[in-house]
């Protein structure tokens, strides 16, 4: 871990981080309000059969319960895009982007091992993701208070939701960093990582909405983001372990690949 590098990355990203965290808090504050305002009407609509049950129960996320609406906040594309700015965008640019710009040369000319650089980048990325998810939890509490449903919110379960989110997005970030150290250019690094995230999300959506494709769901990392279950009092330890294992594999790959690969002159 290198603190000057950590500090430099923090300073260079803090404005963007503040904006994303605020947006994430606002989005997560919005959903309990929606639940409180429209949950009952939506439930009636679904019960009447106008909307198919699957469309209203997206992977355990819905707007008929506080837990379901909070889960929707984490699984909605808006939330995914916001977290991806750092978990995918920042992570994949961390090495491949610097290499493409030529600035990696200046950094690696200092007395830093590539493993130190990688560990620092990973720590910074996880810090950013962690703070965005903290903002999401704060937004959830504020939104619940505004909607007057704070008494329904098991606040003591929110740290588990945070850990679950960090494991999911940390795994994607580790995959992004692994791609970043493996490619010379930013475009293939982000392309490969986005492909993994999009395919994973597609499998999850397909499995959620189409009963015949339910078997595909466990192949998606999003399947293991179990916000509703955690808020309901159940922690899927196996799911946590699986997310951690995926992240660990990506980290191990990067720790082996980055130091051993040749960094030819930027063309």
């Amino acid at each position: 871990m290198n603190w000057p590098l950590f500090g430099h990355l923090w300073r260079s990203q803090r404005t963007k981080l503040a904006i994303v965290a605020l947006a994430m808090a606002a989005w997560n504050a919005f959903l309990p309000v929606i639940y409180n305002a429209f949950g009952a009407q939506m439930q009636k609509l679904v019960d009447s059969g106008v909307i198919p049950r699957q469309m209203a129960d997206f992977g355990g996320a819905d707007v008929f319960s506080l837990g379901g609406s909070i889960a929707l906040g984490y699984l909605h594309p808006i939330s995914i895009i916001l977290v991806s700015i750092f978990a995918i965008g920042f992570a994949t640019a961390a090495v491949a982007g610097e290499r493409e710009r030529g600035t990696l040369e200046v950094l690696l000319a200092r007395p830093l091992s590539r493993r130190t650089v990688y560990v620092t980048l990973l720590a910074v990325t996880l810090t950013f993701i962690g703070l965005i998810l903290v903002a999401a939890s704060i937004g959830t509490v504020i939104g619940s208070a505004i909607a007057g449903v704070l008494d329904q919110l098991p606040i003591e379960r929110l740290p588990f939701v945070w850990v679950n989110g960090l494991l999911l997005w940390g795994s994607f970030a580790a995959i992004g960093l692994a791609a970043s150290v493996s490619f010379d250019r930013f475009t293939p690094a982000i392309g490969a990582t986005l492909a993994i995230v999009i395919v994973s999300y597609f499998l999850y959506v397909l499995g959620s909405l189409w009963p015949d494709a339910k078997g595909l769901e466990p192949y998606s990392l999003f399947h293991y983001l179990s916000t509703r279950e955690i808020l309901g009092g159940t922690v899927d330890v196996l799911g946590f372990g699986l997310l951690a294992a995926v992240g660990a594999v990506a980290i191990a790959w990067a720790l082996i690949e980055f130091p051993r690969r040749d960094l030819a002159a930027p063309s």
């Binding site: 000057p4 590098l5 600035t103 950094l107 040749d262 002159a265 063309s267």
Partner: protein, 336 residues
């Protein structure tokens, strides 16, 4: 290690680097490559402590590959090298703590101010920036300029920042890749003076360039590489000494001397207006002796330039000059 306690700053022994196809530093569309491509072949050189060592060669000759091997950016395919007595594979981090490096066409963090960038790179180096104030002063970067973001800098100003970041912590060895690129003539002069002072302070400078006039101006010795192979390793003075000088003379009433057969003289030509031109190599004594007794009215001997010596050397090792021909065997001439 020398008896005085001085050591070699850089030693390479059979240093070789082959790229796999996907690692080729220069993309050549439409040119299929099968198997590994040799970027550096069997390079063996010694850079002595306290000297300014020029590393010459055309683009793609292997200069950057050598530097990147020395700094641990690339892993050697075979051979070995030591920098400041440390192994380039095992001790790469320790080497970089004692070396200052200026990459060719340096890229900087555009959003930072010059001052903040130098602070940041100094913090990463972990050594006090003892030379920064002096370098900023000599390269004429004002405090106001240093407070501006790097994105507003001209190419020359960026190069100055690049030079300062490489030298601000007073490294024992400076590896400079095309250091004067983008500097105006006045700043080039200031930069050469900085190099002279570093040398006087016992620092070693490994200087990669294809600007031969500056290598001639600042370097003690030069190594010339071509297609990844060492072609020559000589003192600059020695290289120039063996270069052919262009001679033109006039004599009154057509009293031109006979220079045929005179040692060191070649390419003799007489013009209709009574001039004689030739080329002179090595000792000038026999040539001057041949002029004795003739009524010479004008004599011009152009000084030797490294550029011509360099071209002559290339002509020697590549007589057909054919591009794409297989690399010639190493014909390094090592000066003592």
């Amino acid at each position: 290690m020398y008896p005085s306690g001085r050591m070699d700053a850089i030693t390479t022994s059979g240093l070789t680097k082959h790229y796999r196809h996907r690692e080729l530093p220069i993309h050549r569309p439409g040119r299929p490559v099968s198997g590994p491509v040799g970027a550096l072949e069997d390079l063996s050189i010694v850079v002595r402590e306290g000297e300014i060592f020029g590393f010459l060669g055309p683009n793609g000759a292997g200069k950057s590959t050598t530097i990147r091997l020395l700094l641990g950016f690339l892993h050697p395919t075979s051979g070995s090298a030591n920098v400041l007595g440390l192994d380039i594979v095992r001790d790469s981090v320790a080497i970089r703590s004692r070396v200052g490096y200026l990459p060719g066409g340096i890229a900087l963090y555009d959003s930072l101010s010059g001052e903040r960038l130098l602070d940041y790179l100094g913090e990463l180096t972990g050594r006090p920036s003892t030379r920064r104030a002096e370098l900023v002063d000599r390269l004429e970067l004002s405090a106001r300029t240093l407070r501006r973001p790097v994105r507003d800098y001209s190419r020359g100003m960026r190069q100055k920042i690049g030079i300062i970041q490489a030298l601000q912590h007073d490294p024992e060895l400076a590896i400079l890749d095309e250091p004067s690129e983008g500097l105006d003539p006045l700043m080039q002069r200031a930069f050469y003076a900085i190099l002279d002072d570093l040398k006087a302070a016992g620092r070693t400078i490994f200087f990669s360039s294809h600007v031969l006039s500056e290598v001639e101006r600042v370097c003690d010795r030069v190594a010339i590489v071509r297609r990844g192979r060492l072609v020559a390793l000589q003192n600059v003075a020695s290289l120039l000494e063996h270069r052919k000088r262009n001679v033109e003379l006039r004599a009154s009433e057509g009293d031109l001397p006979r220079l045929e057969g005179v040692a060191g003289v070649s390419g003799i030509a007489r013009t209709a207006d009574g001039r004689l031109t030739c080329q002179l190599e090595g000792d000038v004594g026999p040539f001057l002796a041949a002029l004795a007794g003739h009524a010479i009215t004008d004599l011009t001997i152009e000084p030797a330039h490294l550029e011509e010596a360099f071209l002559e050397l290339y002509e020697d090792v590549e007589p057909d000059g054919a591009a794409g021909a297989p690399p010639a065997p190493s014909t390094a001439v090592a000066a003592p």
